[in-house]
């Protein structure tokens, strides 16, 4: 762990000497441990790798712009996950306006169980899918999910319980 920080610090100063601003290096070090998790969340949320890449890019752009105002820098995960959840919702809304989901999507997962889970997720309402993924895939606390979605903790609890049961019923 300490070695990792040391290496990152050395890489950062080396890159700074090469002319990249410290803020860029700091941003990359801050965000890069979470990129793959965010990407997987977005693929499951949107059911499409290309849309997930687009939303990931938008998430990272927003993170770059918002990082100077972030107060709790020691808790980046829930902050990033909240941004990704918003960007995914925007993307899903845009897509609904363009064309129905099922008409052009190709299944991203060759794994049969994973494909079943994806199909079951797609049959859930967006709000249920969102709360399931934030709570049980990204492992945010109920309070963090409530913050990310702008709803009350009680709403998160009830939505999560309903969504869990519905997902399991879809997979039966």
């Amino acid at each position: 762990m300490a070695m990792g920080h040391l290496q990152r610090g050395q890489a950062a100063s080396a890159e700074s000497r090469l002319g990249r601003p410290d803020r860029h290096v700091e941003f990359e070090a801050f965000v890069s441990p979470y990129v793959q998790r965010l990407y997987r969340f977005l693929v499951l949320r949107l059911g499409d790798e290309r849309d997930a890449r687009d939303s990931l890019q938008e998430t990272l752009l927003a993170a770059w712009q918002g990082l100077p105002q972030l107060r709790e820098k020691e808790r980046p995960w829930s902050w990033l996950a909240g941004i990704a959840a918003h960007k995914a919702s925007d993307s899903a809304r845009r897509r609904l306006r363009a064309v129905p989901l099922s008409s052009v999507d190709e299944p991203y997962a060759e794994d049969a169980v994973a494909a079943d889970v994806l199909a079951a997720l797609e049959r859930l309402p967006a709000s249920a899918r969102e709360v399931l993924l934030l709570r049980y895939l990204l492992r945010l606390s109920e309070v963090e999910v409530a913050d990310a979605l702008g709803v009350k903790v009680g709403t998160v609890k009830s939505r999560a319980a309903r969504a869990r049961r519905r997902l399991l019923a879809e997979l039966r």
């Binding site: 890019q57 363009a98 064309v99 994806l118």
Partner: protein
């Protein structure tokens, strides 16, 4: 089973299922991650080499619109011409449709153009 236990069992199952589904997603390669991060830090979008270059579904709509326009363009001169010379035009058109069902619109357009020039 009590409600709490049931909830916990459900939660574990859902965590396992979603985790499995997430693991089946191929990770982004390191170069792509690096490009995304650098582009974000530069305040722009990364070059999307492996993504679509047009909005989803637009190509389908465009193809449908082109097909509809071609069909209309083919039908319009046909009807006008039918009114003037019913027997000759319809017999030839029907022959085209039977012989070239998929290319009939194009062949009709070309033949009408030739006729107009003549």
């Amino acid at each position: 089973m009590s409600r709490e236990v049931t909830n916990e069992v459900e939660e574990r199952r859902v965590i396992r299922l979603l985790g499995g589904a997430a693991d089946a997603v191929a990770p982004l390669d390191a170069l792509e991650v690096s490009a995304l991060l650098r582009a974000s830090a530069a305040g722009r979008r990364a070059c999307r080499a492996r993504t679509r270059s047009f909005p989803r579904g637009t190509h389908l709509l465009t193809a449908a619109a082109v097909a509809a326009a071609t069909g209309l363009a083919a039908m319009l001169p046909l009807r006008l011409h039918d009114a003037e010379q019913p027997s000759a035009a319809t017999s030839r058109v029907h022959a085209d449709l039977i012989a070239f069902p998929e290319g009939s619109a194009l062949s009709l357009l070309l033949s009408r153009q030739r006729e107009r020039r003549a």
